[in-house]
């Protein structure tokens, strides 16, 4: 299988991302584009530990949108192997969360998250939310409410507690958001699954793991990427390919995806 040994190399190994010395390619990474936020659990240098829990997850975008949690009891755990043998931050489904400053003011942006529930309860779980409670990206949502902007119907939630990519693309604050999961947006959209309740201005203090409505995440988050605009199809597929091959989720990409068989390169 392609990449089977390369992606096992340590994150900071000099040939983890660049095989040109040996006739291979240089792998595409998010630093090839302008990002608003980039959190990467595989990069241990961005993780500040308080014992075994995480007090800060540093932003690699260059914007210093570091996510932090000062209260020890609410800090997620850092697990080097939880996500299919790969690193992840593990949220307890009770009160674990990380927050960042209020400065996401763009009206268009695209979020990509590699995540996985580890428990079916609570039935509604939030990965990214607004501390004000008006915006969140749920992994699983069995209910609906006027404060809920994005929802994936229960029938289309992962039936099992499987790992997957999820993405939300906000073209502008009043448009219908585009939701992808392993690039199955087209089928979701065509089936009329995407919910549109109006998208508030994306100026909020984001937090990971808990929404103001109390929908705690009992699960894992391994990487979060926010691009500064609504992604083009090409950019979205590149980011999906990068994330899928990095986190061994390429099998979940649909047939015909340009990075179904090989990761993106530069």
């Amino acid at each position: 299988m392609p990449m089977e040994l390369v992606r096992k190399l340590p994150y900071d190994h000099p040939y983890r991302w660049d095989g040109t010395l040996f006739g291979g390619p240089k792998l595409w990474r998010p630093n090839e584009i302008q990002t608003a936020l980039w959190l990467d659990a595989e990069d241990a240098s961005t993780i500040t530990l308080n014992g075994s829990t995480v007090s800060q997850w540093a932003d690699k975008s260059g914007n210093n949108r570091h996510f932090s949690q000062a209260t020890a009891a609410s800090q997620p755990a850092y697990n080097l192997t939880a996500f299919g043998g790969r690193p992840a931050l593990s949220f307890d489904g009770v009160d674990d969360r990380l927050g960042a400053a209020l400065d996401f003011t763009a009206t268009g942006m695209s979020w990509y998250v590699v995540c996985q529930r580890t428990s079916a309860t609570p039935s509604t779980q939030t990965v990214i939310s607004s501390a004000a409670g008006n915006t969140y990206l749920p992994i699983a949502a069995s209910g609906n409410s006027t404060t809920q902007v994005f929802r994936i119907n229960a029938a289309n939630d992962p039936a099992s507690l499987s790992a997957y990519l999820t993405g939300v693309m906000v073209k502008d604050k009043n448009s219908t958001p585009t939701i992808t999961r392993n690039d199955i947006f087209n089928s979701l959209r065509n089936a009329g699954i995407v919910e549109s309740l109006g998208c508030p201005a994306f100026a909020f203090a984001p937090q990971i793991g808990l929404s103001a409505g109390g929908y705690q995440l009992a699960g894992l988050v391994s990487e979060v990427i926010v691009s500064v605009n609504d992604s083009s199809t090409v950019e979205r597929q590149i980011i999906e390919g990068y994330l899928a091959w990095k986190w061994a989720l390429e099998g979940s990409l649909p047939a015909g995806h340009p990075y179904k068989n090989l990761p993106p390169t530069v």
């Binding site: 299988m1 040994l5 096992k8 190399l9 340590p10 190994h13 040939y15 095989g19």
Partner: protein, 241 residues
């Protein structure tokens, strides 16, 4: 070799640009299953696997029934030398000397059985170094006088193993990550290598391995920079694209 269109990486030498290979360092042995020119076939089985180190420490097997099979397209689409776990093995000279050495290889042990399986071993009982699968722990181990486990090994897993032995420490790597360390040192026995079985020769037997060997090389020492280049070379060749 990689397709010409993908020859984008270059390593500068005095006379030309070329891709990095172990030919640019001093190896004690270097076996590369993807280089068909180094394989002597007896039908579909391998009677000799020639050393590319330049020292002519070839491995061979004269008995047809004990010759491994050559599989032209296997790991990452490249050829492997496949030993059957029943009676296949090959042997050759080690070329190691002193108490410092390093071993690198890409392999796949196909079956999890109840017996030890010797992937790459010295051919004298109880002598170092050896790489083998240990059923009691399910680990891939390296022996240097004591047994150093390198973490769980799952059958059919393609793996890159590395071991560096200095005067005081054996460090075992799995895909570039430190997976185990040991302190005891047994100077390598230089009577010879064998692949496909442990060199015990006593009950319960030779501990044959059902293993596919892609590539292996040994050096009489290695520094960190060279180790990482070797890891990068093996990872991209056998587990990149």
């Amino acid at each position: 070799m990689f397709p010409v269109s993908r020859f984008r990486g270059r390593f500068r030498t005095k006379t030309s640009w070329s891709l990095w290979t172990p030919a640019q360092i001093s190896t004690s042995i270097w076996f590369d299953a993807s280089d068909a020119a180094t394989i002597t076939l007896n039908g579909s089985t391998v009677s000799q696997w020639r050393d590319k180190s330049g020292a002519a420490r070839h491995m061979s097997q004269a008995t047809a029934a004990s010759q491994p099979t050559y599989i032209a397209s296997s790991i990452n689409g490249r050829a492997v030398v496949s030993l059957d776990g029943s009676n296949d093995w090959m042997s050759g000279a080690t070329g190691l000397s002193g108490s410092s050495y390093s071993v690198f290889g890409v392999l796949r042990i196909r079956n999890a059985t109840t017996a030890q399986q010797g992937a790459l071993c010295n051919d004298v009982s109880g002598t170092a170094p050896s790489v083998y699968w240990q059923p009691s722990s399910g680990t891939l181990n390296v022996y240097n006088g004591t047994y150093v486990a390198s973490g769980t090994y799952t059958a059919n897993q393609i793996d890159m193993i590395g071991a560096t032995q200095t005067a005081s420490t054996l460090t075992v790597y799995r895909s570039g990550v430190v997976a185990g360390t040991g302190g005891a040192v047994t100077a390598p026995n230089n009577t010879g290598w064998q692949i496909g079985r442990l060199g015990l020769g006593t009950a319960p037997g030779f501990n044959y391995a059902s293993v596919d060997w892609a590539e292996m090389l040994t050096l009489n020492s290695v520094d960190t920079t060279t180790r990482k280049i070797i890891e990068g070379y093996l990872a991209w060749k056998w587990g990149g694209f």
